[in-house]
Amino acid sequence: MTGDAPVIEVRDLAKTYPTGFWRRRVEVLRDVSFSVRRNEIVGFLGPNGAGKTTTIKILNRLAFPDGGTVRLFGAADGYRPEVRRRIGFMPEQPYFYEYLTGEEFLRLCGRLCGMGRQETGERSETLLSRVGLEGAGRMAIRKYSKGMMQRLGLAQALLHDPELIILDEPMSGLDPLGRMDVRNLIRELRGSGKTVFFSSHIISDVEALCDRVILLHRGRKVAEGSLEELLGGGDMQCVEVTFSPIPDPGWLADAGLPPGRWNVEGNVVIVVAQDEEEADRWIGEFRRAGSRVRSCVPVKRRLEDIYVEHVVGGKPPGGARG
């Protein structure tokens, strides 16, 4: 691999699948291009059916593209065993040989990756403990819960100490503590110089972890960039001011409140001001009407807004009240 070559480089990826009796081809990916640089955490975001898993399968040679190129570690033939040895992969909702124990399964994975018996044993022990399966290594996989299966999936992906870790929906099936564990593990991996590429449709996980985000929708890339780039540097989008008690209904009707940007919820009035000046003005007006400010929250653009804009085609939440 050349020094600065991206770890993953995908150009104009296209994929169709035949479906139905007549084998009509359905387009799953079209002109998808992106790259992942060394030591980044990149989130692959998109709704169900966006093409995330298909792209990940292509990266892992489980499916073949109809068009475009995939370069892994700069190698045009990313399917070569020496390249595969540098990659760890966990599929979505992983399932393993249920007749094996966790340890036996990791031993098998170690042998397939060309690891020695002792090395595999040591790494297995460390990883089982790291992913929270301490003591479960000798239990038959058929007795594992969904969450334990997910954790074993992570252990097998990391067993051979790969440089690039590709995870398909790593947080699905995990309880909140499990999700936190995985988030911490991903951060640790980046800290130790690894590159992590993971897909998710849980926006908060992507927002909390990723250096960069690639948003896929209906088989096309609709957005890509760092969180800062996508969120416009974290600029304030609006100010949400909450007042109580609710002024006289007649006052509310005559005050000239901005249409569509205010709302009465329970015993409070919420006004969404476009900027700080407008917020100041409404604070003054409501004070004069006998109301007090209960909260004043600057609303910044969130990844969820970007997601909604591209995927649903709707307006981001925060500006649609009243």
Binding site: Y17, L62, I87, P94, Y99, C109, G114
Partner: protein
């Protein structure tokens, strides 16, 4: 390469040897072999031949059931449960996966066939108070046929559904036992095109009768291990060819 291949084979062996259905079929087979003792008692004349005849037929039939059943589930189960995703994302070429699976199942069938043939050998020896090594030779022939069936099942599993794979494999098994007749029938034709066509078809289809010398064993005509040489060569060439095609198909398969 060798280590990965053997790891997959060993894992497949472990998978199939822990399969409860395998033991059910094996129990039936051993029951049939055991019953030959009583069958011989009920027969008139040629008592020990009945044991060998029925016993070897039992080994053959139950062996084929095991080979077809395990052969078609071998790859399909991996695809259905998506365990193949984890294995093939590792530095494992797809052909190693296919060959490793077939090798592992062949190992299981070797063990199971050995158990059945040793039991039959024992039943015969106890009844006839004589040793018949032909039983072991005929069982070796059955085993080679089973390995070829595993290769065929792997081939069909690479591109079609389990039900169709089982149907195709069973059809090939049946055709394989009469394919030799094609050459005889073709030879009677006045047209050389028909003769050559029949011969080409015979070459494309397996000749499973090559592995069958059960009748000779029944009449005590098979005594030498040299009888295994030609079938072993045929198995290597034909089985290897079928497995090669299976690898070829599997290497371009998209996992949805």
């Amino acid at each position: 390469m060798g280590s990965r291949l053997l790891s997959i084979a060993a894992n497949t062996f472990r998978e199939t040897i822990r399969n409860k259905i395998l033991y059910t079929i094996l129990a039936f087979a051993l029951l049939v072999i055991g019953l030959t003792w009583f069958l011989a008692d009920l027969s008139v004349g040629e008592l020990t031949r009945i044991i060998v005849d029925v016993g070897l037929a039992g080994i053959h039939v139950f062996g084929v059931i095991m080979a077809v059943f395990l052969g078609i589930t071998l790859i399909h189960q991996e695809l259905e449960r998506k365990t193949v995703y984890v294995i093939l994302s590792k530095p494992v070429p797809r052909w190693e996966f296919v060959v490793g699976k077939a090798l592992g199942l062949s190992g299981t069938l070797a063990l199971v066939t050995s158990v059945m043939s040793v039991v039959l050998f024992g039943v015969h020896a106890a009844y006839a108070k004589a040793i018949e090594p032909g039983i072991l030779l005929a069982s070796a022939g059955v085993y080679m046929e089973l390995v070829l069936i595993v290769c065929a099942a792997s081939f069909f599993s690479a591109f079609t559904t389990p039900v169709l794979s089982a149907t195709f494999t069973l059809c090939l098994f049946l055709i394989g036992h009469v394919s030799r007749d094609l050459v005889d029938f073709g030879g009677r034709s006045a047209w050389s095109a028909v003769r050559w066509g029949a011969f080409a078809l015979y070459g494309a289809l397996p000749d499973l009768e090559l592995f069958n010398w059960k009748n000779q064993v029944v009449y005590g005509e098979v005594r030498s291990f040299s009888v295994l040489l030609l079938p072993a060569g045929y198995l290597l060439a034909y089985g290897g060819g079928v497995l090669f095609l299976a690898c070829l198909l599997f290497s371009r398969k998209d996992f949805k």
